[in-house]
């Protein structure tokens, strides 16, 4: 799905989290929103997911104005920084949640839900953990379950907020590869937020560098590395 961001701005009270920014994301791309904290990258991601409403501007999905769509209507697979797993549900019930929450008419049968959950557990390479609770999982496992839960609703896009932020360096590296593979298998337009420039450069097709609520540069990793557009970008990728 093609995502277009047209002059989106966001004010919290009187402080501007986003100055009007515009961005087009081609269908099937894996995009990193890269920047330090307070750069507005998470706000932009949340506006895409329908968790925040922009102060001005439009969001378009495949050319259709989606600005007023509710979060439920958007069907964006969202992975939260804290993963936000439901701790009173097993891994199975977590992944099946979005399917069970559908109105009866469009809800798959129990057998179909079980089949899909099993397939997703295979996809994240954790086939044995269906009956466990989130508290019994490692950080890396939780992240993958959150990803599977987001994929279960057959999302139109995948949005990830600092997906590797809470993990140690070794697990982080493994899961980067995992996300790349899942992206390539599903072909979903994927946007992830990160403050880690290595992560953005290694993983993304397209990197959007942000600072203070503005987009500093949009480009392929090697372009940004060889031709930083602003002093900020040069300093940031050097650090």
């Amino acid at each position: 799905m093609v995502i277009q961001i047209d002059e989106i701005s966001k004010l919290f009270g009187t402080t501007a989290a986003l100055h009007p920014v515009s961005l087009s994301i081609p269908g099937g791309a894996l995009v990193a929103l890269l920047g330090p904290s307070g750069s507005g990258k998470t706000t932009l991601l949340r506006i895409l997911g329908g968790l925040e409403y922009p102060t001005s501007g439009r969001v378009l999905f495949d050319g259709q104005d989606a600005t007023g769509m509710t979060v439920q209507e958007r069907r964006a697979g969202f992975v939260f920084q804290s993963y936000a797993l439901f701790r009173h549900m097993t891994v199975f019930d977590n992944i099946a949640y979005g399917l069970n929450a559908r109105p009866r008419a469009s809800r798959p049968s129990k057998a179909e839900i079980a089949r899909r959950v099993t397939r997703l557990l295979d996809l994240i390479q954790l086939p044995q953990i269906a009956d466990r609770y989130p508290s019994q999982l490692s950080g890396g496992q939780r992240q993958r379950v959150a990803l599977a839960r987001a994929l279960a609703i057959e999302p139109r896009m995948l949005l990830l907020d600092e997906p590797f932020g809470a993990l140690d360096a070794k697990v982080r590296k493994e899961l980067r590869q995992g996300l790349r593979e899942i992206h390539d298998t599903t072909g979903l337009t994927t946007v992830f937020v990160t403050h880690d420039q290595d992560e953005a450069m290694e993983l993304a097709d397209l990197v959007v560098v942000m600072s203070m609520g503005r987009i500093e540069q949009i480009g392929r990793p090697q372009d940004i590395r060889t031709r930083p557009a602003t002093p900020f970008v040069r300093d940031f990728i050097a650090g």
């Binding site: 969202f78 936000a84 929450a101």
Partner: protein, 283 residues
């Protein structure tokens, strides 16, 4: 100190001073004020004999009163369970003018002495009272009926659920609710399947506290109850009546019965709580 040679010393060695003094004060006062008096009640019962206790308790008037106390206490706690969760939600989540006042008003039943609440509720719901006269026109009688007792028990138990649930709501991670929404769940579905399970253990704790309080409640109830034997006579009142007739054995028998039922109830509710925590509490 012999503790050094024991495998499990009573108290672990600590550089902190004052264990003897603090423990001495604690145990002495606990004994004089609470433990010895409760032991005296149980001893009185043992002295009176199980058969006699049963003979005293096993009368229609007493069964009716015990049943009334526990039934109405349960209903009042149930009402407070639902209303308390609503109150906690409104106070924790919404910002509106007068919220602080409302928040303080929740504690009023704790701050208002029971006798004061008792006569106020009676005046309010008596046939010539502000609420009572309106209700009387509708053909409903509250004061001097079981409805009156229910109103009083709701009053005294009102803060418990709200106050145990409110901090839990304040600590809910909003991302969990957002996650549910991004997965397509309606707000109602989120509340029912994500939020409510997180509140259940605390709500049950509040329910248990409200129930325990209501079962033993005396001051706020006796004025509005009318105290008609077999109809609106609560269990604690029977103890007072026996004592006024210097019938200590009978008073002790009823007291022990109440104590046992309270403890059994608390135990049952604790078990339910452990079960609910185990089922949904994988924190």
């Amino acid at each position: 100190m012999t503790g050094r040679t024991m495998r499990h010393p009573f108290v672990q060695q600590s550089p902190m001073p004052g264990f003897g003094l603090a423990m001495g004060i604690t145990v002495t006062m606990l004994s004089v004020v609470v433990l010895v008096p409760i032991a005296a009640l149980l001893l009185k019962g043992a002295d009176f004999g199980l058969a006699n206790i049963w003979a005293t308790v096993n009368r229609e008037r007493i069964w009716k009163a015990l049943w009334l106390s526990f039934r109405l206490s349960f209903l009042a706690a149930l009402f407070n369970l639902v209303f308390g969760v609503v109150l906690a939600w409104v106070l924790a989540r919404y910002r509106f003018p007068g919220r602080r006042l409302l928040d303080a008003a929740v504690d009023l039943p704790f701050a208002l002495p029971t006798a004061v609440a008792g006569i106020a509720l009676t005046a309010l719901y008596a046939p010539n009272g502000v609420f009572g006269s309106v209700l009387a026109d509708a053909g409903i009688k509250v004061a001097y009926t079981q409805w009156g007792i229910l109103v009083a028990l709701i009053f005294v138990g009102l803060p418990f659920v709200a106050r145990t649930v409110q901090p839990v709501i304040e600590e809910i991670d909003r991302e969990v609710e957002e996650a549910s929404a991004t997965l397509g769940a309606s707000r109602l579905y989120t509340l029912r399947h994500v939020v409510l399970p997180m509140l259940t253990p605390a709500a049950l704790t509040g329910f248990a506290l409200a129930l325990a309080r209501a079962v033993g409640e005396y001051g706020s109830v006796i004025f509005i109850a009318g105290n008609i034997p077999l109809v609106t006579e609560i269990a604690p009142l029977l103890i007072v009546i026996q004592l006024e007739e210097y019938n200590y054995n009978a008073a002790a028998a009823i007291g022990i019965a109440m104590l046992l039922i309270s403890f059994a109830m608390l135990l049952a509710i604790n078990l339910i709580q452990i079960w609910s925590r185990r089922r949904i509490g994988h924190v």
